[in-house]
Symmetry: none
Subunit: 200 residues, 4 copies
DNA sequence: CAATAATCGAGACGGTACGTCGCGTCTTGGG
DNA sequence: CCCAAGACGCGACGTACCGTCTCGATTATTG
């Protein structure tokens, strides 16, 4: 999974997988804590308890390191149940709000959003790699809801996707440390779903 | 308006107001371009075409400088016409999307949102000083709309405020350089207002 | 005697002669305390209790100021009695060892000697203006002593001048604060006048 | 020989001895060129072609650096032949007048002499470390000459030492770049050994 | 099992940006 | 017109941190 993917065994002492993991984890921590611009290899190595050369031996620069670190964020996607729109949406929300991993991801999301202007290429990769798959799941949920008649069929999916997710995401950015309260998420849904529900 | 507010005239050469303005403007530019953490007094002075000492003579550190720079962002608030909800909301949107000043403010907004976790105190001041007054205008708009029967009266204003503004604000963060297209803003409004409109 | 010598009266407030004196005196003090290179107009003005512009109005740079300050060091030359070589030499020594003015001059002498390499032009002027007149007095003393038969007539005056004065001057440089003890000066004279070789 | 003398090997990359040498040499050059007060670590680093941190890692301030730099000046002492006073003295003079190293040492000597008042502690160390050993050699030469009957035995060695060396040293200070002409040194010796008084 | 070779943490390297200070110049109000 | 006070742009200072490089020690594979 690292940048210097190797196929054939090389002689000499093999690279420590512990170091790999510690570096990636430190990178993700720091991405969420300080953002892309102030993140430095020095800081990553210190946080990982590893020599700087151990990082540079694997990745040529911080962009490459961040790209590889992001790849580990793809993780297992939430699987919507498909019974009702609201249930599916809450499953997706839940996966972003519970646990240490989710908190770190919220911090990273906020940092990338704040640095879109400085690091457009990295931000694009982050969106494509990490965010887009989740949006794709959500699109499936919305399409299924349209098919079941739970959502209007005269609006494009992208519009509905943004209107449903933006209140949650933007709320989260204002305090990434605290997960969004589930009842508040439900009240957001009440409003937006009302607007998106088919006119009878 | 500078940090070292002086009442009585001091002896010696008075401080240059040109320098004041250049420093504040450079600070706002850089706030939008690089954010809070990487902003440095050195960078501000260089951008302003001013000696570093000229900055340090006025503000003891970058936080104080940023606080004073933010104060100049309050600017004139947009005045809603009060004829219809949609017209008023579009007036408010417009004031954030047109002109160089608005573009700079969008960049600054994105930077502060991305650094809430690192500089909570500064972010809080920014919200209170710059954002909250505009939200207050929007609250007035919403209350008037409730009074006119254009919005449901069973929801609290804060909820409606967030649901209406979040899609616009979050869309903006994904590309602060380009102002939000007015027709897209209208489509967002179509959906959210439908959800917030009173049941007949 | 200042650099901007003026002949005709100019209109407006005349320049303060107090300031002139204070600046020159401060310059001489600092010349002796910090030397030529670290001496700054800022320091002179502060020591003189005068605005910096008041100095710059009179002298264009520190070299010109130092030149004029040195001119005031010429002072009244000691007048040898002409009765005996030893008495005359001790009169000259005395004038360099007694009083505040003499101590300052010793400090200045040490500083210039130490900075000959950095400021050869200033040092040359210093030698010509301040030191050379005193050496000229000493030459007269030596010539008279030769005429009286107190000194050999087969040596040139410059050589004798240097051999007699160097032990005193060099001793002084090793601790300019303390004036050379008169009895030690006498012992130096004993040796140079009589030599170190044993009398047969 | 560096300030942070280490006995046991420390982990990590060892400090470069090339850097040590370059820094010390640059310090000695600058000591002779600009003196103690204007000497700065920045200047030393630039002259040595070394990062400033490389200097500060070894010495905490310029005084400590100068002390260590002076220690390298002790060098090999001249060995007088012991056959005659004049020959021995000229050997000692020679060692201060020939070669690049000697020219640098003359410049340094002049600088320290000129800054005795500003840096008495450093000057004291310089005298003790660098000058005193050479004076001790000269004392041996003088004592041997006294024993051989070449010098009077009724004068103390310190007095003779000063009277013999001062003309040479003080002449040198007036132009440290040019070594003292050997024939002039001989004429100084002629006088001090024989005296200025006429032979009866 | 010894030799080899790549990796490890540690830390020194040259370079650069930081906030501070002091320089010589410039600009006020008041005498 | 002079004077003090002090702000101005500029640049040097000592510090901290960056990415790179280099050391002795460690750890698998190879002969």
């Amino acid at each position: 999974m690292t940048h210097t993917e190797q196929v054939e065994r090389r002689s000499g002492r093999p690279r420590s997988e512990d170091a790999d993991r510690a570096i990636i984890s430190a990178t993700l921590d720091l991405l969420g804590e300080v953002g892309v611009t102030p993140l430095s290899i020095e800081g990553v190595a210190a946080r990982a308890g590893v020599g700087k050369a151990t990082v540079y031996r694997r990745w040529p620069n911080k962009e490459a390191l961040i790209v590889d670190a992001m790849a580990t964020l793809k993780g297992p996607l939430p699987r919507p149940a498909g019974r009702s729109l609201r249930e599916d949406v809450m499953i997706l929300f839940d996966s972003q709000m519970a646990g240490y991993e989710a908190a770190r991801q919220r911090r990273i999301y906020a940092c990338f959003m704040g640095e879109v202007g400085r690091h457009p290429e990295l931000a694009r990769r982050y969106i494509n790699t990490v965010i887009e798959p989740r949006r794709e799941v959500m699109r499936g949920v919305l399409r299924a809801a349209v098919a079941r008649g739970e959502l209007r069929d005269d609006l494009d999916i992208e519009l509905m996707l943004h209107v449903i997710t933006a209140p949650v995401l933007h709320w989260t950015m204002r305090d990434p440390e605290r997960p969004l309260d589930k009842s508040l998420a439900n009240r957001f849904l009440d409003v937006t779903l009302e607007g998106l529900a088919p006119r009878r």
